[in-house]
Each structure stands twice: as structure tokens, then as C-alpha cells.
Symmetry: C2
Subunit: 306 residues, 2 copies
């Protein structure tokens, strides 16, 4: 069980033969979340051997084409493949109209239930929550409605040593409270200290996705201390003006946000096509925030133990 | 100068790693016409080294996703690349709404003039005509509004032997009438017979595109005698019932239309993904119409001299 992120595409604006625009797949303990869905994403999913039917929730950050033009094709292929399971999309309101008008044009009634959850671009909100994960969204600053996403694993603070369950004949109904730090009292009335039964659990994983945005300190509180932060870095620092004009960030912007938010690792991508040598962007970011990685297409990052 | 068709994609329904859904590029004497535009078409254009800016007219046969989901991405890339030239799209009315809602969502005003020409799905009509080419459309039979396209080169019946122009000092303004068979009278009043000045021109090229459709004899008159007919052949003949249910054709349907229309060559494609061995479809078609070719992705067919 782990949290793994696969970069399906990470270039900005125009697809090329080698590089797809933005799409990422988060495998959160074998639950698959698709984040953004540029043209060609369904082919990227096939290339990296992910099954469409395992994806149950799709998150679209904003309605620039390089972040969603592949969605209608993926929805359509899921239909043609006979999907029956629910699919949930989280996006800004206009995307529903875009999907509906295309389904209507082809006279298609999807063979699976599609639930569209409208994101409010003005405020933070929780989009989905259960025992294992909490997914929330927060506004970015990109000229048009644009949101980031935060995926937070939920974990008990302590992990039970499995041999102890047998040794003390611990009933299932007690396990939850023990994981939360309580002691165990045997049938004979002996108190077994929690320390003897458990060890500290791995830290829960968390992933924050921030694309696209200009430098925006209001997100820092939201993403504080995450295991992994993806933050776009379209330009290098010498093009700071261009970044501001186009509502994008520089490597230094991304790294500064990572530093201020005290995240564990920073992942940068969405580089302008002017940059042939991505290592220059990496170096520049590392000067401000050492634990920077590049969101290279095809790369999978396991950040459970980071 | 020639008529050349390049198959950018030819599979049906769902894109795969190896095969793109339908898109074709017709090079008509260095004028480029894009016919259908499935997801990934802009990448296919790059792969086969066609410049986006050379395409001035795009024809969309119908609004099933495997024939147009790549259009919005291509339009968007043309915008990002700073296109200034006019672009003309010929398609059914609903596509305009689909394009508009997506441009609106991203707050995009295209930097080039986009002209949308609505196709009437009920009747034949001429879509474009000038001195060199005539492009018309005609209804197919596919469950939703679906049209075929016919591209007809215009050529003078005769070609002037270039040495004769100098020899008799023929003024430019006389060339057209000579190409059309008239004699030339010199300044001295000598009559030079057309036979001496010209040779018979190559036959004008013509291309008919029929995808998708069930067997439909009403198109025969329209496409009579064309140099090259593309006709979908989704199924083999043993699945004739399935073809009818899904408003598609079999190899035998396509070949029968080709035969009745006395076309020179037939190109079949849009094969169902159930077929691994395309040579079986080719063989079946050839039994009815010998000059059958397969619309293999990446194939370029020069049919000027066919």
C-alpha cells in the first residue's frame, strides 16, 4: 500500500510528439485519482498500463485546453468499453455544459452514472472524504477560475504489532481504539500498555497539486507540510515579467512557496517549450528549495516514505 | 503538382497506442484539406511533418467523437502558434456551439479569423469552388447527421506544349482559350491548329470521402467515376447484421458501392477493433472490387495518375 503519483503529461500549452500536456494519476493505496486530462491522456493511460475502469474520480483544475481537452475522449471510451461503475468529475461549472453539448451532438446517453461536482472557484472546500482520505480544493490565481487540489491520507497514529493480537487474544472491536493510543484490558483484568502493543505508524501521505497559478501566498496555509507538492514553474526567473503577464509562476516562485509551506518535496513542471534543458530549471529551483524534482512524463514517484 | 491523400488515422471508435481514429489530409496540388479530426490529429500532423498553417479548410463528416474530438485542440494550437490566416470549417451546426463554449470557457478570442460553414445534412451542396477545385457534400446514412465530401480537380482538357509559346510568341491572355481547344492566330494572320500547340491533359483527379455510413445507394450518382473513393468498412460480411444495427458498412457494402459507381480505386478503413488481420478485409473487398486498398495509418496515396 502506498501513495504514488505518475506523470502522464507535463508540458505547457501545445502537445508535441514527445511531450503531452498536463495529466497526472494519483494512486492512493490502490484508489486511482486522475488530475487534469489533456488531449491524449487516454493514450498515456494505456501506455503506462493503467486501466480506465479503476479511475473513479477525476479532478480538473481549470478550463484551459492543455488541462482538459482529453476528458471527453476518455469519457467516451469508458462508455464504448461498457463501463458500469459511477464516475465522479470535480470541476468548474462550465465543463458540465461542454460535456453535455458533446454527448448531445452524438446522441449519446452514457452507459454509466456520471456525477458532476461543481467546484466553487472562490473558496476552499472539501470535495470528498471517507475513512481513508480527504480531498479538498482551494483557489489558485490564474486569470480564469482555477483550483488546486489537496489529497490527505488518513492514518491512525499507531500501528498494532500483529503478533500481539494473537498473544493477548484482542477482539476486532478493540483494534481501532488501540491504534488511537488506548491500552488494552484482558479478560483477566490485566492492563497491557499501548506501548507494548503498537509502534508509531508511518506518517500519513499528502499531495498538493497547484497548476496553473501565478505566485500566490494564500495557498501556503492550505498546503503546509505536505509530503509532495506539485507546483507549476512555466518560466525561469529571468522571465518573471512574462510569468506575471501570463498568470504563471517561475521556478523561484514555486520553490519559495515550497519553502514557506515547509513541504517535504517539490515537483515542478509545465515548463515553457522554450526550455530545451530542464536541468537548468531544476538547478534554479534547488537554489531555493533543495528537495525539488522534475515532473518528467512517465515518471512515477512513490512518496509514502518520503 | 499532384493529388495526394495521407491517412492520419483510420481506426474506429477508441484510440489505441498504435492506431488513431479517423483523420485524413488531402494535398490537392499543394492546397491542404483536413478531413475529420479525431483526438490526437495534431500530433499525427506533426508526426508526418505537415505544417498546421498550411491547412486552410477543415471538413468534419459528423459529430461522433472519433471524427472530431481533436479539432478543438488543433484550433487552440493554431491560436497559440499565432496563426493569422483565415481558417474555414465545414460541419454540422452543433459543432459551432461545441467550439464556442470551449473558447468561452478559457476566455479565448482566437487570433485568426475562423469561418464556420454549416452543412445541411439533408441535401447535396457545393461547399467551395474556384478555378482549380470544386468541393461538395452529400448526405450519408449513419443514424446521426453525417455527410460525405467530394473533391474534384478542375483541369483544362488540353495542356500547352511550353516550347510553342515562345515559338509563336503567344500572349498570356490567349493561353486559357488554347487550353480549352481553340486555335491560335498569329500577328501575321496564320492559323496555328490547336493540335500543334497542345497535348491532351491528364485526367482531373477526384476524391470522395464516405465515412461513416450504412450501405447507401443514393451516393452512387454523386461519386460516379472518381479517381479514389474512401468508404468505411467497419465489419466483414459475416457481421452484416451488426453493421446494419450500428449504421456501418461491411467490406462487401463498400466494394459494391465502388463497383456500381465505377470508381478507379477504393480505399477501405475504420475497421472494428476485433480484426487483427486486415488482409482478410482487403481480400473480401477485392472479391467484389479488385482495386481496393487499405487506409493504413501513415500511408500516402498519390492518385493523380491512377
Amino acid at each position: 500500500m502506498s501513495y504514488e503519483l505518475t506523470i502522464l503529461g507535463s508540458s505547457s500549452a501545445i502537445p508535441s510528439l514527445e511531450k503531452n500536456p498536463t495529466a497526472q494519476l494519483l494512486n492512493a493505496n490502490e484508489r486511482f485519482f486522475l488530475i487534469d486530462c489533456a488531449e491524449g491522456t487516454q493514450i498515456q493511460l494505456r501506455k503506462y498500463k493503467f486501466k480506465f475502469h479503476k479511475i473513479n474520480r477525476i479532478f480538473i483544475s481549470h478550463l484551459h485546453g492543455d488541462h482538459y481537452f482529453g476528458l471527453i475522449g476518455l469519457l467516451s471510451s469508458m462508455h464504448l468499453l461498457g463501463r458500469e461503475k459511477e464516475l465522479h468529475i470535480y470541476a468548474h461549472a462550465k465543463l458540465k455544459q461542454i460535456i453535455d453539448v458533446q454527448l448531445e451532438a452524438s446522441n449519446t446517453e452514457l452507459c454509466y452514472p456520471l456525477f458532476f461536482h461543481v467546484i466553487n472557484p472562490e473558496t476552499d472546500e472539501v470535495l470528498f472524504e471517507d475513512k481513508k482520505i480527504k480531498i479538498s480544493t482551494f483557489p489558485l490565481n490564474h486569470g480564469i477560475d482555477c483550483n488546486g487540489f489537496l489529497f490527505e491520507e488518513k492514518k491512525s497514529p499507531r500501528k498494532i504489532i500483529s503478533e500481539k493480537i494473537q498473544e493477548y487474544n484482542i477482539p476486532i472491536e478493540n483494534l481501532k481504539s488501540i491504534k488511537n493510543g488506548e491500552h488494552f484490558i484482558t479478560e483477566d483484568g490485566d492492563v497491557i500498555l499501548n506501548n507494548e502493543l503498537t509502534i508509531e505508524n508511518n506518517k500519513a501521505s499528502s499531495y498538493a497539486y497547484c497548476s496553473d497559478t501565478k505566485y500566490c501566498e494564500s495557498i501556503i496555509e492550505k498546503i503546509k507540510g505536505v509530503s509532495l507538492l506539485y507546483h507549476e514553474a512555466t518560466f525561469m526567473n529571468d522571465r518573471k515579467n512574462r510569468a506575471e503577464e501570463t498568470n504563471h509562476s517561475t521556478t523561484i516562485d514555486a520553490a519559495t512557496i515550497a519553502k514557506l509551506a515547509q513541504v517535504k518535496h517539490l515537483l515542478i513542471g509545465h515548463f515553457s517549450q522554450r526550455y530545451r534543458d530542464e536541468s537548468l530549471l531544476l538547478e534554479e529551483s534547488k537554489r531555493v528549495f533543495k528537495n525539488t524534482l522534475i515532473a518528467k512524463q512517465g515518471r512515477t514517484i512513490n512518496f509514502s516514505d518520503m
